[in-house]
Amino acid sequence: MALAAEPGISGNKLAVVNLTREFNFKHRKITAIQGISLEVKEGEFVTILGPSGCGKSTLLRIIAGLTEASSGQVYKDGRLIQGPGRDRGMVFQSYTLFPWLTVRQNIEFGLNLKRVEADRRHEIVNHYLDIIGLTAFADAFPKSLSGGMKQRVAIARALANDPDILLMDEPFGALDAQTRLVMQELLLKIWEETRKTILFVTHDVEEAIFLGDTVYIMTARPGRLKARIPVPLSRPRSFEIKNSRVFLELKTSILEQIREESLKAATMMPAGCD
């Protein structure tokens, strides 16, 4: 592979090159995403914004190595991705805590796979329990946690494994508006501390702007990247920034761009996700 010839591949944390994914749905070929290319720098917080549909999740799943691309490649640190791995942690929209494990056991799941010794494991888990504020629930089973608490643990579980990139597929999508706000601030706080490279998919415009250094807008099926918008808001950010002029103007302009796409998506034939 001629890496030197492609500066986008070797210079970035993550490089997505001309990614397309098709799948069959009731004997029709559906193109979920088409010709997507993007680059993510080390430590960058990228949000991907688009209407409901399958494209965004499909993109994230391909980067995670859980779904195969029909064509195109994904490179991490210049190396071709060929399957799932612990270097790309993922947080899903559905609650994915292992219900038979306690909060502590969930967070240390990846550490156990890596055979991290007990003392070190404890140290890491306690650190993240502290960050997410659930130390008191360390020995509780997920069944006794609220939705927001479950997602906190899911984030802690992904981070405790120390991935290079954190992939987040609408992780706050199932939470109520208040909890969502709290979770967004928590995530920013964690990101300020860890400076992980994050790829965050959402259909919420405010969320995309509030969290991201860069917002990508995706079109309705077939999913393509329509615009790349740098967010000129300073860090660290807190929720007050959502009322600032810059924020509101950015929101208005993005809403206009995404409106056409949402209208298109709303009148489209439904198709299953893969």
């Binding site: 612990r86 994915t96 292992f98 219900p99 796979l113 890596k114 494994n161």
Partner: protein
């Protein structure tokens, strides 16, 4: 009163218990009334007292032995079916190639009633213990495998994907996610199939046996001893409910993490 009639709303545990017990009491009462007021012939419906006396008499005259031998046949057939069926079902549920190979075959066998195999089992296994165990095995094995397969396939894909993104390899996903996630469903399948095992052991004993609860009922029938038949039938019910409760208690103990009480 109204608050207990809300759809699907919980009720106090004590009330639940009282209602359950009163259903049994009511049945007993109706039974007694049928005999004393309704004058149903005792040869058809013996009074509860007569059945109780028959139970006491039988208890010292072979009932325990019959329970023991039926219990042995049920457990052996059940354990054999589970020992082969659970691993096979899990394999079929997690590997499509295994499903494609076994599923149609087993689904085909599932539609052949175990009772239809009884003459064949007599030719193959004579009329000794192996034949009774064989009928139990045929009766539950095919259903059990297919149910275990289904349970395994219903493990949420997101849990499996999560494990992959945390660095698990396929075998680790199998051992650390698929198995623990499927285990409550597997136990529940075993509970249900154990109930069926009791049905098939009785069928086997009604046809060809000289011991066991099925034989007791058949023999009582030949002598037109309705109270003894009642004792045999009721004993099976009692054993069934004990097995069921034991399984439920075990599940509560094993799976304290389940959202729903099993």
């Amino acid at each position: 009163m109204r608050k207990y009639l809300k759809l699907n709303a919980p009720i106090p545990g004590k009330l639940y218990f009282i209602l359950s017990v009163s259903a049994f009491a009511l049945l007993l009462l109706l039974w007694q009334l049928g005999v004393t007021v309704g004058h149903l012939p005792p040869s058809h419906l013996p009074p509860p007292g007569a059945v109780a006396r028959a139970a006491v008499a039988l208890a010292t005259d072979g009932l325990i032995g019959d329970i023991g031998i039926s219990f042995f046949r049920v457990t052996t057939g059940f354990l054999l079916a589970a020992a082969i069926g659970v691993p096979l079902g899990i394999l079929m549920g997690s590997l499509k190639v295994a499903e494609a190979f076994f599923e149609p075959l087993l689904a085909f066998f599932r539609y052949m009633p175990a009772s239809a195999f009884i003459p064949l089992t007599i030719i193959w296994l004579s009329i000794f213990e192996a034949q009774k165990i064989g009928v139990v095995f045929i009766g539950i094995f095919f259903q059990l495998v297919l149910m275990i397969m289904d349970v395994t396939q219903n493990v949420p894909q997101d849990l499996i994907d999560t494990a992959y993104t945390l660095g698990a390899r396929p075998l680790e996903v199998f051992r650390r996610v698929l198995l623990p996630a499927a285990l409550p469903g597997i136990m529940d399948t075993l509970r249900v199939t154990l109930g069926w095992a009791w049905t098939y052991v009785i069928v086997a004993e009604l046809v060809a046996a000289n011991s066991g609860l099925g034989f007791l009922i058949m023999n009582a029938g030949r002598q037109l001893s309705t109270p003894d038949m009642f004792v045999g039938i009721l004993t099976i019910g009692v054993l069934g409910i004990i097995c069921d409760m034991a399984f439920k208690a075990l599940n509560r103990l094993l799976f304290p993490w389940l959202e729903r009480e099993v």
